[in-house]
């Protein structure tokens, strides 16, 4: 069975995410982050930030939900039962702080097949309310038996 490549280049409507202070603290706790910038409002303000800072990997929270529509798109045709998250890349711009409104668009950058496996590469572009690029994500999925 050959992979479908029609969806290459397809872009999905922007998904917005409001970054909440307690969500940042909850995330920091879950990944073991103890830097006061992530959890202590006074420390963050003393360092010049408007609110607590989101750890860089918080990108999975605001950008991750923008990836879902592409993963479930029949036109992309991913077989979930056989999907593996093979690789991940993030490139960060200005830090995200609580109170930011992040807008993320997802594009299918590539779909290919090698050795009976399907390779899917999705790209997310996330911008804050000042239209600054805060994070570009490259999400690499492998589907066995494609």
């Amino acid at each position: 069975m050959a992979v479908k490549t029609d969806a290459i280049g397809k872009t999905y409507p922007a998904v917005s995410y409001a970054v909440g202070r307690e969500k940042v603290r909850e995330y920091a706790w879950a990944v073991g982050e103890t830097n006061p910038l992530y959890v202590d409002l006074e420390a963050a303000r003393a360092a010049g930030y408007a609110d607590v800072v989101a750890p860089p990997m918080f990108a999975v929270v605001y950008a991750g939900r923008a990836v879902t529509p592409a993963l479930f798109d029949p036109e992309v045709g991913i077989n979930f039962a056989n999907m593996l998250h093979a690789g991940q890349e993030f490139e960060w711009g200005p830090v995200v702080v609580a109170g930011d409104e992040i807008s993320t668009t997802t594009t299918v950058r590539d779909i290919s097949e090698r050795g009976g496996m399907g390779f899917y590469e999705l790209v997310t572009e996330s911008r804050n309310e000042r239209d600054e690029p805060v994070c570009t994500g490259i999400w690499r999925q492998i589907v066995r038996g494609a």
Binding site: K23, A30, N35, P55, P56, Q88, E89
Partner: protein, 131 residues
């Protein structure tokens, strides 16, 4: 922002032992509720030894190793990883990295995450601003 003083050949390391409920906390915090991470019976039914760690949680440990070494979140400009193997709870994970080069204000760090002799993350490459 604390400016990183990383130099070529410097190493970074972070050790963390995931407790039995870390995947539950991470699922709630991140929104990733795939049952292979939070449901022991489901995980075994699909052929896994049991619940496994989220790869993105392990990647967050790699990121933390870099931001801790570099002095904060502003310093980490890029991180790329490949996921391998299955991370388990209760066994120590060691994140290790080596500064490959420093050029034009950016330190390039090669890294990996290992647990009980198996690599959970390989070919990690990070770019850290050194000011």
């Amino acid at each position: 922002m604390i400016v990183s003083t990383l130099a070529s050949g410097d190493t970074i390391e972070l050790k963390v032992t995931p407790d039995p409920y870390v995947t539950v906390r991470y699922a709630g915090a991140s929104g990733y509720f795939n049952p292979i991470h939070i449901d022991e019976e489901f995980a075994q039914r699909v052929g896994l030894p049991g619940r496994i760690l989220h790869g993105l949680w392990t990647m967050a440990q790699v990121a933390r190793a870099h931001t801790d070494a570099a002095g904060g979140p502003e310093s980490l400009k890029r991180l790329s990883v490949q996921f391998r193997g299955m991370g388990r709870m209760g066994e120590e994970i060691v994140v290790s990295g080596t500064v490959r080069e420093v050029a034009n204000g950016i330190a390039v760090v090669d890294s990996q995450a290992e647990q009980a002799g198996s690599r959970l993350i390989r070919n990690g490459v990070a770019e850290i601003a050194t000011g």
